[in-house]
Every structure is written in structure tokens, then in C-alpha cells.
């Protein structure tokens, strides 16, 4: 291997290969590999899927089928801050829709969209299991409960 080119190797690519090595000898390695690959890249770029396909010898079409089946996987990059608004039953009954309205108004994006400045991505989810605090949302995994539409803007402003 050409040692002078080593610096050119993408560190994400190195991580991806580590992930593949970690799981490839296990039964059913595809989903854990995709999950960790998405952690590395933030989404699943086409090149990454091709690389996974070649290395673990699963047809790209099958991988694409899996990626599009599960809501966790993304084929496009997300913004810097991922907002998950819960519209599960408890949140629905306690006014989650009003919270969503306010988020849409503040960020000017709708479900599944990313703002032009890439500051926010908005996704509606069905339940994050914090029903006792409904209505809730989470931003980058941090859960905010007992939301009122009035205090949404203040929380969003904390995320640059």
C-alpha cells in the first residue's frame, strides 16, 4: 500500500470499515452496520451503501429495500439540529399538534424537511416513551416535556 497516500484516506471511511469488521462475522449484520454507519456520516450516502454491499456481499437492491423500510434510516443529510416532535396518543390528547404548529411557524419547515441554512431538521415521531410529560419533543436526543406553544421558540433558539 502506498504510504504517502495514507493521509488522504477519509477518517469516516476508516471508521466505517471498523464497523463492518465488528459485525461482519455475526449473523444478520446488515442493520447494525447501517445504524453505526449512519452515526458516522449523519445519513447513508449512496457510496457508503455501495461499499457496504460489496464488503458484506449483500445486493445493493436488498440494502436499499431495508433502508427505505425503516424510518430511522436517512438517504439525505440532516440539519445541525434534529427536532423530533412526538404525536403519539398521549401527546395528541394533550395538545401536541399546537406544539408542532408553533415549531413549524418558528422554523418555517414541515415534517421531514431541513431548513435552508441547515440549522434544523423536523421529524414527527409516534412515541418517545416520555408520555407522562406530554406533549414532548426531543432535540438532538435531549427530551423536553410539558411543552406549551409559547415556550417552543425559546428552546429552539438555544440550538444554533
Amino acid at each position: 500500500m502506498c504510504t504517502t497516500c495514507e493521509n488522504l484516506v477519509d477518517p469516516k471511511q476508516i471508521k466505517l470499515d471498523e464497523v463492518i469488521i465488528k459485525y461482519q462475522s455475526e449473523n444478520g449484520p446488515l442493520i447494525p452496520i447501517l445504524q453505526e454507519a449512519q452515526e458516522v456520516y449523519g445519513y447513508l450516502p449512496a457510496d457508503v451503501l455501495r461499499h457496504v454491499s460489496k464488503t458484506i456481499r449483500i445486493p445493493l437492491a436488498k440494502i436499499y429495500g431495508v433502508v427505505t423500510f425503516y424510518s430511522q434510516f436517512r438517504l439525505a443529510p440532516v440539519g445541525r439540529n434534529l427536532i423530533n416532535v412526538c404525536l403519539g396518543t398521549a401527546c395528541h390528547v394533550r395538545g401536541g399538534a399546537n406544539v408542532l404548529d408553533m415549531i413549524e411557524k418558528t422554523t418555517k419547515i414541515k415534517d421531514g424537511e431541513t431548513s435552508e441554512d441547515r440549522r434544523y431538521t423536523l421529524e414527527i415521531v409516534a412515541c418517545i416513551g416520555a408520555c407522562g410529560l406530554a406533549p414532548v419533543m426531543s432535540i438532538n436526543g435531549q427530551v423536553y416535556g410539558r411543552l406549551e406553544p409559547e415556550n417552543v421558540a425559546e428552546i429552539l433558539a438555544k440550538y444554533e
Binding site: Q72, A90, V93, A126, C127, G129, C131, Q142, R146
Partner: protein, 595 residues
Amino acid sequence: MAENQRILVCAGTGCASSGAHTIIDLLQEEIIRQGIQDRVSVVPTGCHGFCEQGPTLIIEPQQTLYTQVKAEDIAEIVAQDLMEGKLVERLLYVDPLTQKPATTFANSNFFAKQVRVVLKNCGFIDPEKIEDYVANDGYKGLANALKMTPDAVVEEVKKAGLRGRGGAGFPTGLKWGFCRNSPGNKKYIICNADEGDPGAFMDRGVLEGDPHSVIEGMLIGAYAIGADEGYVYCRAEYPLAIKHMEIAIAKAEQAGYLGDNIMNSGFNFRLKIRAGAGAFVCGEETALMASIEGRRGMPNVRPPFPAQSGLWGKPTNINNVETWSSVPHILAHGADWYTQYGTEKSKGTKIFALTGRINNTGLVEVPMGTTLRSILFDIGGGIQNGKAFKAVQIGGPSGGCLPDEMLDLEVDYDTLTRAGAMVGSGGLVVMDETTCMVDIARFFLDFSQKESCGKCTPCREGNKRMWDILDRITKGEGKIEDLDTLENLALVIKETSLCGLGQNSPNPVLATLKYFRKEFEAHIIDHKCPAHVCTALLTYSIDAEKCKGCGLCAKNCPVGCITGEKKEAHTIDEAACIKCGTCLEKCKFDAVIRL
């Protein structure tokens, strides 16, 4: 010399989001500052179950329960309670019905009427420490099981009458027996922790708060069935549950409870975690196994049942978190002890997740056979803001909404199914007069049709058509014959769908039609939404006598459809009104009328 004390701070997902970690840090700092760190320890625990009042903490041995604790309360708690032994009364829980403060957690109505078997450790041990679990009779059930023959273990679980807590209520011992008697050297067991029902979070509570109880239950099951490998399939939306489970597995391996020759019995077992990837249908057994195998999570026709041909074609037994977690108690104390709780056909205790328009949201565990009224009013503290109870939704998207006259039902698998609902995973979402039942029926179908995997036509197309009809009704465009069409479609979907998701998805519609038909008719015939939820059926106007002409409504109206001179009555242009309700909220003189 003052006695040793432990402060149990709930650090489950709910309380963590209300600031529990700051509280833990501040408590630790303050305890050191006061020099009492030798006798007072701070323990981050799993869920106390009292999410509404979070962050909560319990001080042992006094069992003092403090609720809604904030950072600024810490110094007072340490100085007054821990140093002087005096209660900080303003942080005690006040019962919403009696207005009396509870001095200990055990004498608060919320906890006093519960029977905590599966939740015994939740909130009382550090879930990251295996020694805490072992000190509370942990792995005692496993030790007992390993002294018995596998067949005797299956018999004991059968005798206990434990039924699957994930929804269907299939007898657990019977299921184990099928898999045990299935031919084959390699067998798997799986813990279904893909708790997808919106409004249910008891499995999250157990995984976060007492992960070793799930591992112990699975070990006992694996020994009984003859499996040497297992998976915990946990939804990715529960990162803390996955983290605690990973730690617990590592600790159990170090302590020799997982691996080879467990407790010198010659029994080997390995356990792995798989995170779900966001598909509700993966809670169905065959879809879940497809997902572990790395495929799209679509259900298969049964037979063959998983007990014959499951994961990678091998005999497999799947139970959910609460079921596995009940098993160690049965083996530790015996089937006779377990059957003291429950009804004739549904034994033991069940955890319910109380949410919605109720005062005490949280996790509660009661014996099977407790009435809904007791759960909602004695433990749940009744309806928020003194509003009138309308319905309780039980069993998630597969269950139904039950009205007031059904609240004296004793909750067990069979009575609820007869009433048109189901125990399901145990989510109880309470609705009051401000909830529209047509909207709720549409809500559940919206969920089911989005989560349908698309494999079979009745579920994929039928639910969509039912949703279309309900959507029309909420917009005031429904016809009275739509109600018959809905019922017909529902019956076809129930009878012909491939898996549990499709077979049960019409239940919320059927139950609401059965108990709340008048509300459907009000939408269709009178074009009115009695709960004032369906925006298309609302009209806003201004009472000229009450309006002072302050202009606040006009200033806040997002579409500028309110006009009027200062100090004179304003009017709403109904054609332009988007019915957002902002004017109603803003008006200080109750002059806006919503019909």
C-alpha cells in the same frame, strides 16, 4: 449520631428531561459541602413511575417522597431534612383529591394502592450496579430454577398462570413448552422490547430501572426451553434503556450469570442486544425476527410458528419485557405465591402506563382484576383541571376507547376483549370532554395505516379507505351510511389481515362507534364537533355586547380577518377565518364565541 441515608433520585427518561441529572450533581456537591458524605449517598435510579411529579426523589430509610424538585430546593433539602431531620413540607406530594400531603411515598394514594412485583426494584436500586440487584433477591429465581429440571420449570410457569404481557395474553408456560418440545439442537429466545404502542412505556421503565430482572427471566426461560443464545430487540427510540441493558449484560457476564457453565450448572447462555430501526410492525413476532436477520420487518404467515421455525429457521421463543421480568419472581417465590394476585384466568400483576388528561401520569402496577375506576381515580387522582371524564383508551392502536359506564370492569384479558378493547401492552390514555372521539378514531387509523408494512392488501388499502372516510366526517362531509361502510370495512380487515397489526387496527374505530356513535352522528347530521376539536366544523364570532374593542384579537389574528374600530365591537370575516382559535385565547372579556 445520625443514621445512614440514601437519596434515590429518579433518572429515567422522564425525570432526566425535567432536570434530574442537575439535581443529582447538586445534591452530591451539597452533601460534601456539609460534610455528611460518609452517611448519605445519592443513588441515580430508574423510574419511580411518578412522571407527572418529576423530578422525584425518595429519602431512605424514612421513605420521604419529594416531588417536582428544582435546583434551588437542594440546599434546603440537605440542611433541613438530612441535617435536622425535618420534612421540607412544600415539596411533599399533595393528593389532588383530598388535598392532603403524603409524608412517605408509601402513604401517598399513588403508591399505596399499587402492588409492585415487577416494578419492585424500579426506582429503588441503581440499575447500573449488579450488586444492588443481587442484594434484593436478584438471581435467586435463577438459582432455584437451575436446581430443578427444565420440564419442572416450564410446569411452574404454567402453574403460575402467567400470560404474555405484550398484548395477546397467550399463556407463557404453554408457549415455552411448545418451543422446548420442538425438535432441534439450536434454539433461540428473544425479548421483545420494541414497545411501539404510543402511550405505553412500562417496558422502557423496566429496562431502564431494573435490567437484570429481564436478563434473569431470560436465563430461566433459556434453561427451561433449552436455548443457548438470546436477543433483546429494543426500539432505537429508547437510548437509555439500551445503555442500561448493555451495562447489565456486561456485568452479568463478569459475574458469571451469562456465558459458560452458569452457576456451575453446566448451562450456557449468551445474550445480545439488537436496536430496532423505527418500524412499529416489528413488535409482531415474525416481523421482529426478520428484522434481527437483517431484512425488512414484514410478518410471515403462521404456521410455522416461531416455536417450530423462528430465527434463522430454528425454534424460537419470544416474550416481551414485562413477561420476562415477571419470571424471576415466580421462580423465587413459587407459583402459589404468584397466583395470590389476579383473577381466575389472568394471574399476577400488570403494569399500566397512565397518560393523557389525568392528574397522576406515570407507571402503576396493580393485580389483574383491579377496576379501571380504581386505577384512574384512586391511583391516577382523577381528571386534570376538574374536567369531566369522557373515555379511556386502552391497548394502543389495537385497543379501544371505553366510556364511563365501563369503568367498573375488572381489568383482565378476557373482560376487556369482550368489551371491545384489549389489555394490549397496558397503555391507558385518558380523555376528557375536550377530546373528540371521531378525531381520536382518525388519529389511530392514521397511525396504523402509516405503520402498515404493506404486505397484505386488507391492512394496506383497507385502513387507508377507513381513514379517508373518517377524515371526511371530521370535515363535516360525512354521510350517515359511512358508518355502516366503516363497520363493514373493519370486519373485513379484521378477518383477512395477515398479522396482529392489521387484525386489530380497526378496533379503535369499532369501539368508538359502539360507545360514542352519537358523536359521529353529530358530525354528520348536525355538522358540529361537540368537543370543539374538528376545526372545519367550528365557527368563530364576536359577541358585540361583551366586546370592548380593545383590538387584541385583531392584532393577534394570523390572517387579519378581524376588523373593527377602537372601542367598538369587532367582527370576524368567517370566509377568511382559518379557525386557529387565537382570538378566543387572547380575548380577556370572553367575547369570542366558538360554536
